[in-house]
């Protein structure tokens, strides 16, 4: 039982990481109706930026917000430079653009920092706390706290501010929003900035667990896809719940199902995607596409 609870808690911690990246995917999916395949690579690049800052002697807790601001700005620049010129292009064109962007960012990081895995310092103590016989590491608790806080901030921004309101309106109803004076094009850029910053959180949280190298996010993005699809791809809340479910499931499957522990762990993530698409194509929080005519 204790082992089970420990696995659940560390599953929630990894789930928080998946949830952040899944939320980034959902934010962009809502804004332009497609998944940004470069989301993981953008997060990896931001993590390298944080790494460089920490390496230059900056404390992690200063480098963290600085990186978020840079990632936010970078997301806006990418939207303006790469996405906006193709705004009216068919979805497939945009998909290819984000795939190209992923390759580009990956290559850029490799060019600057090389492919040798580097250890990224964890800001949390390696000790564990004993909660009624269940040992929970401060690292897991820290990741849960940071992801939780970031997700809460995004929720408050989207649901309780005017900017969040116009962001949601612009994403779902661009034509109607324009007629209400919403600057739709800038709202989409803001969405990219926000997604980029939220994704960067997942990168900075996962880097101390894995090792930092340009391909670091390539498995994480699969789990994030699984989380987003499970949550219904359009629902920010769904992405978070989906992330937690995927995190815990993968962790438990890795320990209790023989053979899944190592290489097959990723297959669990892919299995979730396939199962959701077959059994419940709209995910847990998605709605069937119904249009009033």
């Amino acid at each position: 039982m204790q082992e089970f609870l420990q696995l659940v808690v560390s599953g929630i911690a990894t789930g928080g990481i998946f949830a952040s990246l899944a939320l980034a995917l959902v934010l962009i999916y809502n804004a332009m109706g497609l998944v940004n395949f470069a989301q993981g690579e953008m997060a990896m690049l931001a993590t390298f930026v944080a790494y460089s800052l920490v390496n230059r002697g900056m404390s992690f807790w200063i480098a963290f917000p600085v990186t978020l601001v840079l990632a936010f700005g970078g997301g806006i620049v990418i939207q303006r430079v790469v996405i906006k010129p193709a705004e009216r292009a068919p979805v497939l064109t945009l998909v290819i653009i984000t795939l190209g962007l992923a390759t580009l960012v990956n290559g850029l990081a490799g060019f600057i920092w090389g492919y040798v895995p580097r250890s990224f310092p964890s800001p949390f103590s390696p000790d564990s706390v004993d909660l009624a016989g269940v040992f929970i590491s401060y690292r897991d608790l820290g990741v849960i706290a940071v992801s939780g806080l970031v997700l809460l901030c995004v929720y408050l921004l989207l649901q309780h501010t005017t900017v969040g309101l116009t962001l949601r309106a612009a994403a779902h109803h661009p034509e109607a929003s324009r007629l209400l004076g919403v600057q739709v094009s800038w709202m989409l850029a803001l969405g990219w900035g926000l997604a980029s910053a939220v994704g960067a959180v997942s990168g900075m949280m996962v880097a101390p667990i894995l090792l930092l190298e340009p391909n670091m996010m390539q498995t994480i993005i699969i789990y994030a896809f699984a989380a987003a699809v499970l949550g219904g791809i359009e629902s920010p809340l769904g992405a978070v719940v989906g992330g937690l479910i995927v995190g815990v499931t993968v962790n438990l499957a890795g320990s209790y199902i023989p053979g899944v522990g190592g290489d097959l762990q990723l297959a669990v993530g892919l299995g979730i995607i396939v199962a959701v698409l077959i059994l419940r194509p709209n995910g847990l929080f998605g709605r069937a596409a119904v249009r009033r005519v």
């Binding site: 309106a169 034509e175 919403v182």
Partner: protein, 237 residues
Amino acid sequence: MSAILELENVHAGYGPTSVLHGVSLSVPEGGVVSLLGANGAGKTTTLRAITGGVRWSGDIRFAGRSLRRMSTEEIVRGGIAHVPEGRGICTELTVDENLRLGSHLRRDGAEVRKDYDRVFEYFPVLKERRRLSASTLSGGEQQMLALARALLMRPRLMLLDEPSLGLAPIVVRSIFEIVRSINLTSKVAVLLVEQNARIALDMSSTAYVLEVGRVAVQGAGAELQGNESVRRSYLGY
């Protein structure tokens, strides 16, 4: 009365298809003007040209200023509320959030609150359903929401595209009464596109009848209603 909106020889269309072939019309400050005509005559395109939703040539002036090369957002922020065909309700959002989108650019808090009170007086049903998703509203209620939201922008001119579309006659009547009273009490000018010519002419000082992208007939509302040949050939009643 000076004109708040003037269109002069406006040509417009979608890509290679041109829809308007030189439309000229004017809406007096605080007046109600209706734009009538058959399907495909260019009524909706005229409204879309005004708020920059379609490319046009010629000239469109609002409050004396040309709208050439202005984006939709700028035009709307200048004081034109456009309730588009199909109402433009954000069905992903709640009723309250839709209303807030109407007032989100205003900084005069006290006046905004007064306008909310007024809007809820006109449309009590919206107050009851504030917290519900806008997708749960009926067609008539969605039309009310669209009007309420337009009113909260505190515009100088409202463009209404077929507010009666798909609504029961009794709902249509109450909506038009409210439009009339908004026009009278707030001095908002209205440019009304309607299929339902009779009800539109009743409240309009001036009316234009479009035929394939041109103004075929224009005149005072009562005058057009009294002219039997116009009524038969263009208005269909």
